[in-house]
Symmetry: C2
Subunit: 379 residues, 2 copies
Amino acid sequence: MENFTAYNPTKLHFGKNIIEKLGETTLEFGKRVLLIYGKGSVQKNGIYDKVMNQLKSVNAEVVEYSGIKSNPLVEDVSEAAQIGKLNNIDLIVAVGGGSVIDSAKIVALSIANNTDPWAIMKYKSKPETTIPLIAVLTLAATGTEMNGAAVLQNPETKEKIGYVSPLNYPKHSFLDPEFTYSVPKNYTAYGVTDLIAHALEAYFGEGEASLSDRFVEVIIKEAMEYGPLVLKDPENYEYRANIMWAATTALNGLTSYGRKNGDWGVHDIGHNISYLYDTAHGATLSIAYPAWLKLHKNRIPKKITKLGNQLFGTNSADETIKGLESFFKSIYCPIKLSDIGIEENKKQEIVNQMLKNKINGMAHEFSDDDRRKIVDLMM
Amino acid sequence: MENFTAYNPTKLHFGKNIIEKLGETTLEFGKRVLLIYGKGSVQKNGIYDKVMNQLKSVNAEVVEYSGIKSNPLVEDVSEAAQIGKLNNIDLIVAVGGGSVIDSAKIVALSIANNTDPWAIMKYKSKPETTIPLIAVLTLAATGTEMNGAAVLQNPETKEKIGYVSPLNYPKHSFLDPEFTYSVPKNYTAYGVTDLIAHALEAYFGEGEASLSDRFVEVIIKEAMEYGPLVLKDPENYEYRANIMWAATTALNGLTSYGRKNGDWGVHDIGHNISYLYDTAHGATLSIAYPAWLKLHKNRIPKKITKLGNQLFGTNSADETIKGLESFFKSIYCPIKLSDIGIEENKKQEIVNQMLKNKINGMAHEFSDDDRRKIVDLMM
């Protein structure tokens, strides 16, 4: 086991009607709120009104930035930061899924340090402070509600990349499983895939961490039990709650303690696919993970076999991969690029993207040959 | 799933030579340190010197209180608090296992609020502040290094009771698995039993919490895999590390999120046995848990069966109990009072203690008849 520090500063409030604590919670940080959300689904499903009622109840002065895309863009972050600066805000309330909360994390850093967002993402500026962020989660998937990670894309540099900082943890996060009732089936399934992928990125990281491995295995079991159920019965509170909590635990530190690092090669692949074709993040992962496992099945057969043994009771790396593919198919997630309409004629474009951005994992590095092979394995 | 807040303010530093960060960490809180430890084993095994070197390196002014008993007494807490007050201390560094760290938590409250320790334990005074506590753990068992609980006993009132407060979390905890190398085999085994019992108290609490149940099951699996190994090879770093981290996770919130409460009836039984016969805490639990499960096997057969199914692959409550008893025996822990020399002639004394203190669980309440029966089942 590697040395580690176990600490997570986010105070996460989970449950039915938990939003009723939002108003009083904002008072800890001030009155001037920048409210950030996406393309308007929170207005249709009533969550916007619930949040605004809370903010009004404490006489908050609210300015808004809406329109964050599901693959979030750095230009939206820049614009939101401008609005925040102009209004001298005390805190940010972000209402949405990973894209909104990730964007809000970088908006907060950009305002507090008067810095260009992309310079932050590229680790070129070193933020030393931030503006308090409160997250109201509407999609169970990325775990951003209880971690220090944020992902953005930049059309100018043709990149979609992640940035991790201890400053990024939300001060508070509010998770009401009912807020995810209206998530469409495909995005619900992508969320399940995303949480499984997060757990696996830890599992295939560097260093032996026995208990963290066990946590990965049961988080995935939970996702595999309740994922299919929630697709059949999207307004079942227990199913939504179990998936929502599993998604948080898949990337809040728990699965990583005692490891040198996670791998994150599959996410790097996925981000580049998303960048090229605006593909939903979860869909890129259910395609990339089986391919990654096929590339690595003769390199780390024991670990891949152990995973399948725990999840499916199988005894070979091939069976692990088959089991995972079957699960993704069972929740209607793609496992090949052709499943989402990306055919052979795009292959060279994808290979070029992978080579240009030198996609890589931290524990298992790619050669250029691997970068080509993995595209073949996804076709 | 019940509503919950996931938050743990302790910053836990885990690993080899992690003590080297202690000195600088104390500076966050001040220079005047009250150092609390037990009956001298930390002086024999060199841990005392390592801690003192760290404190000297930052020119801390150290006053000491030693002699905390393994079943810690409120009178020691009072004396330590007096010393702390006289010396106007800034922080406490507690070096030891659960008894030392639990005592230090109440010392801190007693000093900060100028209050009698037992009034705190009985929830008669309501502390509103505390003195920063840094824990250096030398025994993997109670989880006190990352939670808000403390247990003390009082010979005057013939009680051993627990007190829980958010003020009780250590600010920092330092866990070096090597610091547990010199723990004797019996106390190593009691620690394993203790951590299993903590996980089970959550498991048999009130409310359905699917993922928390899974976490309980794998924490116990980890304990059952590495407990016997560490007894055979007490200076194996990985084994010690795995047990140490399992003990923390068994009672740092993770196993409880989404439940209304834990049960804690078995701990209440155990504390009363410890009070009467100065029995090691872990030894009382390996005796009390099988008895508790026998008392409840027809009341909650499904949950007890589910546990055995996960741990042993069995399919009945009786087999779960047998499996647990076999495990405790395999690590040389007692499963009957007679195993620790407490025979039939003590039965009435124990029954009287249980009736007088109205031992109880929060999820599964005892009748007086249950209080008598459980003693029979432990004999």
